[in-house]
């Protein structure tokens, strides 16, 4: 935020709307999101919910900024609190001149949680909504009216936003909400906050073409565009949106999505569909992935292309289902019995989710094996404004699928033929002349089970060669910060946005850092190793207690003594200022 004259001009704003689940917190957040979007702000939207159907404390957290940001900010500027708990939770993070719009239906706000400079509007929203408008839900539009006045937005503009939000509702409902909004304006008037009287003024910029989408939706979309036509999954937080999105969309495109009876069935359903030549995917979170391990080993051994998505949440075991973590790195990279090649891609935002889902779907077919997409709860479920995806630029690569004509021409067909690139021609069932045996047992080129030692070695080597074949095309990482700095910062997934902004803050504080978000986690690319080798030390930012990413890098020859883990495992994402502060503290101490 910058100040011009007497007004504070808002260019970067964090909002929290919180109350009991079912309060409609998201409605106010939606209205503010539409308002900010129209003003050309980029958005980052997160939810903080309890693991229950309804009720429990729920919050919508939103950041609007004229510069695109990949995370929430450190401080909250505007807190719309529908109950005392919202003040208790959001208050400590309120900026020094932050504003609280509090539903005082049950009494005044508890000030002990708030900074001294905070401005508090205590309005009995719920009582007013019920008394004057006869419906509790209208308190959202009422609160939005006060918030719009505080942001220095004209009443007409606020009314346009409301009209757009409720355009799909019955006219009388839209009219009642408009009445509620105006009641909010009237209340603001009574508090000396007339139109244009706010000390704040919301800035604006030219809004370019953007979409607002979550990582899970972007991932499912990418899979679809890459030709994915089969999905099986079992409901689990935070992966369930992938199932529901594909259940809605795949049938429209001739595909099939179904809810399996468990994760064992989910991965084996995907295996079956993949066997028949259809691009297949399953998605889950840590506990489900643990159940899928045998199937993943089967993909590696039997050479079956399936995309496996892990939307990580806090573990171990059932852990904290709605909270983010990055503690499945070991399981994803090393899980499953035996040795087999696999690829692990790690998207850091919705754009990555779309692009890497396309890449994973192609890669699975090209190398005939398991390709993981490793997300975390924040990447999966937070919604971010990003440039529209390039759906026209997607190319479908079929790999070594052979046709009946190919087979007739070659006269002989071996499913597991040993080839220089390790990849064997693949005849899918239904192809005349291509009958073959697929098995997870060690087998000879014909697919017949074999324990013959020389064959075993040749087959293992063939499978492992496939990784070398695809390695040159594996997605490189994203770089940010100061490229020639001797200090580095490295992390995957939800760390991308936080690290990028922290790097700016560190540079401003006199500690420039070079940043890398590896998008291919396994195999570890030379790019990643080189990034560390060229630096004196690299901060590895991760959400787990064991420094799993640090250990993974060290296991492939990255000098361990140059890696400095920066860990958090309390279920809350890093914030940019906080991360910069922790690194600064380390740097000053050296």
């Amino acid at each position: 935020m910058t100040a011009t004259g007497t007004k504070r001009v808002l260019t970067d704003l964090d909002v929290m709307v919180a109350g009991q689940g079912g309060d409609g917190s998201l409605t106010v957040a939606n209205l503010l999101g539409i308002l900010l979007g129209r003003r050309g702000f980029h958005l980052y939207v997160a939810r903080d919910v309890a693991s229950r159907i309804k009720g429990g404390h729920a919050a919508a957290l939103m950041r609007g900024s004229l510069v695109p940001r990949g995370s929430l900010g450190d401080r909250i500027d505007l807190l719309v609190a529908f109950d005392a708990e919202a003040v208790e939770k959001g208050g400590p993070r309120l900026s020094d001149d932050g504003v609280v719009i509090f539903d005082a239906s049950d009494g005044p706000a508890e000030r002990t949680h708030l900074p001294a400079g905070a401005r508090v509007f205590e309005i009995p929203f719920a009582r007013m909504a019920v008394r004057d408008l006869r419906r509790d839900l209208f308190k959202n539009s009422l609160a939005f009216g006060v918030a719009a006045r505080m942001l220095g937005v004209g009443d007409a503009e606020a009314e346009e936003v409301l009209a757009r939000r409720f355009s799909h509702l019955r006219p009388e409902v839209a009219a009642a909400n408009l009445e509620a909004l105006r009641e909010g304006f009237a209340y603001a008037d009574s508090q000396g906050l007339g139109e244009g009287a706010s000390p704040w003024r919301l800035d604006s910029a030219q809004a370019d073409d953007r979409i607002l989408i979550s990582g899970n939706e972007a991932l499912a979309f990418g899979f679809l565009v890459a030709g994915g036509r089969f999905y099986a999954g079992y409901p689990i937080t935070p992966a369930s949106e992938i199932l529901s999105w594909l259940e809605r969309q795949l049938p429209r495109f001739g595909g099939v999505a179904l809810q399996a009876e468990d994760e064992l069935a989910a991965i084996n359903l995907a295996i079956g569909a993949a066997l028949a030549g259809v691009r297949a995917m399953t998605a889950t979170s840590g506990p489900g992935l643990a159940l899928m391990q045998e199937g993943i080993s089967q993909l590696g051994s039997a050479e079956i292309p399936v995309v496996v998505v892990d939307c990580q949440r806090s573990g171990p075991s059932t852990g904290m289902p709605t909270k983010p973590e990055q503690s499945d790195i070991g399981m994803v990279v090393h899980g499953g019995n035996g040795d087999f090649p696999r690829i692990v891609l790690a998207p850091g935002d919705p754009t990555d989710c779309f692009e890497l889902a396309v890449e994973a779907t192609n890669l699975a077919h090209l190398f005939q094996g398991p390709v993981f997409l490793l997300l975390d709860q924040a990447v999966s479920q937070d919604s971010v404004t990003v440039p529209p995806f390039d759906v026209d630029g997607v190319e479908i690569e079929g790999g070594k699928v052979v046709s009946a004509a190919d087979l007739a021409a070659q006269g002989e067909y071996r499913r597991y033929a040993i080839t220089d690139d390790g990849i064997s021609p693949w005849a899918v069932p239904g192809t005349p002349g291509g009958m073959n045996l697929v098995t997870g047992n060690e087998r000879n080129e014909w697919g017949q089970v074999s324990t013959e030692p020389a064959n075993r070695v040749a087959m293992m080597d063939k499978r492992m060669r496939k990784l070398d074949t695809v390695r040159p095309r594996l997605p490189g990482g994203r770089r940010f910060g100061t490229d020639d700095a001797p200090v580095g910062i490295l992390g995957i997934g939800m760390q991308l946005g936080v690290m990028t902004e922290a790097a700016e803050l560190l540079a401003a504080a006199g500690v420039p850092v070079a940043g890398l978000q590896p998008r291919t986690l396994w195999p570890v690319l030379d790019e990643t190793v080189g990034f560390v080798e060229r630096r004196e030390r690299v901060y590895v930012v991760e959400h787990n207690a064991e420094a799993q990413l640090t250990h993974l890098l060290a296991s492939v020859g990255v000098p361990r003594d140059r890696l400095v883990p920066v860990l958090r495992y309390d279920g809350i994402p890093f914030r940019p200022g906080e991360l910069a502060g922790r690194i600064l503290e380390e740097e000053v101490g050296r």
Binding site: F253, L264, G272, A273, L275, F389, V438
Partner: protein, 278 residues
């Protein structure tokens, strides 16, 4: 003619019931004149889990207990294929039991053949869930389970020692599934001559319901009364126990035949993208 793998010779002991099962499968494919490239035989883990190697069709060796979801995946991806899942009672009724209920419930048109011998042969003689159940004392009856699920439409039990009956049941099952009518379940009493040789004892316990006066396989309640009644006498019902002959084939999409070219779908993809524009 492209040369592919040579069908293997069975690994089973001389006299194993599974020979009869394999023979019945081969008979059904020939009788219905299905080209081998249109058939996928999937088998689980165990002695029975090698039958897919012996038939010259497309074959898949499933994970232990997971043949049903895998077969369902193959079918859903390409309903034009004839899909036959096979396995033993350990594979199907122990580690894979959870999937059987859902296979009945989903009623997807493929065949599931369980070679039931009451024992784990490949791992050398451990008890299976049906070891003490086939004579009706305790244990578990998969046909009764199937009868209890309203979606089921084809339930049959054969005996390896009665090849004519088994061939008929297997052919009917493959035809039923191939016509898209639903899930066809065939349990075969298939004795293990090494660890649980029950040829002689079962011979005296089986009763072919198809030879019963007035037996109506479309009457689910009557079928249940007959199977449980026989079980109470320590006997085992065989034959076409349930058949919903009026069931019509269902229309299914064929993902394997869908045009996934991005250019062909570009307008629909762009429309989807528009929903996210702010």
């Amino acid at each position: 003619m492209t040369v592919t793998y040579t069908p293997a010779r069975p690994i089973w002991c001389a006299g194993c019931g599974h020979f009869g099962v394999q023979g019945a499968m081969a008979h059904a494919f020939a009788a219905l004149d299905i080209p081998p490239h249109e058939i996928v035989v999937l088998a689980g883990i165990g002695c029975s889990g090698t039958v897919q190697n012996n038939l010259g069709t497309y074959g898949y060796h499933a994970l232990h207990g997971r043949v049903l979801p895998t077969a369902a995946g193959v079918h859903l991806a390409n309903p034009r294929l004839t899909v036959v899942a096979a396995g033993g009672d350990g594979d199907g009724y122990a580690i894979g039991m959870g999937h059987l209920v859902h296979a009945f419930r989903r009623d997807l048109p493929f065949v599931y053949v369980v070679m039931n011998n009451g024992v784990y042969g490949l791992t050398k003689g451990q008890d299976s869930p049906t070891r003490h159940g086939l004579s009706g004392i305790g244990g578990f009856d998969a046909i009764d389970l199937g009868l209890s699920i309203p979606a089921s439409g084809f339930l049959a039990r054969g005996f390896s020692r009665h090849p004519d009956q088994l061939r008929r049941l297997m052919t009917d099952a493959v035809r039923y599934a191939r016509e898209g009518r639903g899930f066809a379940f065939v349990e075969v009493l298939s004795p293990c001559v090494t660890y649980n040789d029950t040829y002689a004892s079962w011979e005296h316990l089986v009763e072919d319901v198809d030879t019963r006066q007035g037996y109506d396989p479309s009457d689910r309640a009557a079928a249940f009364a007959v199977t449980t009644g026989l079980a109470a006498e320590g006997r085992i019902a065989t034959g076409q126990i349930l058949l919903d002959a009026d069931r019509l084939p269902r229309e299914e999409t064929v993902p394997a035949a869908v045009d996934v070219d991005p250019a062909a779908n570009a307008a629909a993809y762009r429309d989807l993208l528009d929903r996210y524009r702010v």
